[in-house]
Symmetry: C2
Subunit: 323 residues, 2 copies
């Protein structure tokens, strides 16, 4: 019985993934692009054990009930299929995301699980193969296999829907400041939200075009370290994703009052000459993209309006590693 | 010198007007549909006077500076063109909209101005002609010439862009509850907001289709007094308009934190069996559409969460009258 531990970091999408094309294979409606972050990661240890009569899954030292571990067991089943491994597994996962951070850990968790399970089963898979496997647990996990700027190519089938690195070693002095406004679970899961947008928003077809154009424009901007273009695209892309929630039937929103106040603060900072841009996912928490030289001004302002423990500074982080 | 006084009521759009096709003629991108309200109105008195050397415009007993009366003088110029009247005019307008109501008075104000100026100049214009004239002051004023449920037909030129009554005498026991969350002027005017949406939102073409479909569906629902269908359409339509602001470049929003809280309250009321639906225009204030039988429950709940003076009950109101 070999125990393998993998570490994967979470990521923040700059061009959002918002909509599944195939819920079984977890194929997305569009490609997406993210930045892997250094501050938030998951360590997951997997070992196959012939004394087990079912998979034994624990997260943060809490054993999961079978109903809560469906996706984990699904990834383990895929690994067993691919490797011929027949035993059940111990899975112990530790999320090094501040418990109050309100940041989704599914990206880092399923990327780490894919890596640890694959290697524990004796597979010697490439990172491309691991990103394909991670995708089956959580769409955004596809991207967390790689570090830095990463594109998840939508693809058309299981084989082609994988992540590719855009730039793993990021020398650009930029930061992503997480502003935690609500640590609680979302009322509407991203899966539910996506499904509602895809099926009921009249704007969804135009969103797919938005993503195609934003990806084409942001990729060279990132490589050229063009901060303004990158910031403008990521902010507009996020709000165009959230416009899908307002335009769904029934309409809904992930914003709360503090989200709007924080957005106003970012706009005020920008008006005062501190270049920074915001993005947000399926929840009220803002992430503020800024340059390293402005990090002090941005964090000071946010901490004065909210509180210091709501402000977490992250930088570009690495891809999956084995410990 | 004959003084004529006209009274016109404001209206709330159930299918929104959001975008100009011709800013000089004030032709809209789409048709729209509204309910004229009884609680908020403007009385405007116009008299042409050969002792004047310029138009003399006062609103709520305050004389307007020339820069503030451009649109008023534009409507007066059109009346002079149509009538051959050569004198300047006294215009005295009283807005009977609670000053704290944060409700746009431009619809009632320009409808009343059009009626009073036209008649003071000796024109004997039909209400259709008055709606065409009112349009040149403010798009939404086009609809305030008529009472009850009113459609503004987009048209293709000055002659064809007029309001038509859908149902002036409303027997349906419904109410519109105005919840005043911010009495201040909007940071982004509706004209600016519309222009931004038309020119920068990738969802704007789909919005035009939304409006066409909503108008086709809401008109028979209103005539059939189908409350649920009418409510679902007006709520979704409003949010699809606001989705245009989020998807503009740069993105913006008319919501504030209380807007989101009030929306949650409407949803909670509905979940508890009190059928009601919200709409909102280019500002944070909510208007809640409900049935007369539920008016007590709705206003009690809103007044307990906000305050009683923020809650104003309106019912279907009449078209233009001359006093």
């Amino acid at each position: 019985m070999t125990a393998v531990t993998a570490r994967a970091h979470t990521n923040i999408a700059l061009v959002k993934y918002w909509g599944k094309a195939d819920t079984e294979l977890m194929l997305p409606q569009t490609s997406s692009l993210s930045l892997t972050l250094d501050q938030f990661y998951t360590d997951t240890t997997v070992s196959f054990d012939d004394s087990l009569t079912s998979d034994d899954v624990a997260i943060n030292d809490q054993r999961l009930a079978p109903a809560a571990s469906v996706k984990v067991r699904h990834v383990l089943d895929l690994v067993r299929q691919q490797s011929g491994e027949t035993r059940f597994a111990h899975v112990a996962s530790m999320n090094h995301v501040p418990t109050s951070a309100g940041l989704a850990s599914s990206a880092s968790a399923f990327a780490a699980l894919a890596g640890a399970a694959s290697r524990a089963a004796g597979l010697n898979q490439s990172r491309t193969e691991l990103s394909r496997l991670a995708r089956r647990g959580s769409g955004s996990a596809t991207r967390s296999i790689f570090g830095g700027f990463v594109k998840w190519q939508a693809g058309t089938d299981d084989a082609s829907s994988v992540a590719v690195p855009i730039q793993e070693d990021v020398t650009w002095p930029i930061a992503m400041v997480a502003l935690v406004l609500d640590p609680h679970h979302k009322k509407i899961s991203s899966t539910q939200g996506m499904q509602s947008s895809v099926t009921t928003s009249p704007y969804y077809p135009a969103w797919k075009q938005v993503v195609a154009e934003d990806l084409a424009a942001i990729t060279p901007a990132i490589l050229a370290q063009d901060f303004t273009t990158t910031g403008e695209i990521l902010e507009a892309n996020a709000m165009r994703m959230h416009a899908l929630t307002l335009s769904a039937n029934p309409p809904y929103s992930y914003f709360n009052g503090e989200t709007l106040a924080a957005i106003a603060t970012v706009q005020a900072l920008r008006a005062s000459g501190i270049a920074c841009y915001y993005t947000l996912d399926a929840g009220p928490n803002l992430k503020v993209f800024c340059q390293e030289k402005d990090l002090g001004a941005v964090t000071t302002r946010l901490a004065s309006q909210f509180s210091a423990d709501q402000v977490i500074v992250a930088h570009p982080g690495p891809g999956i590693t084995f410990l």
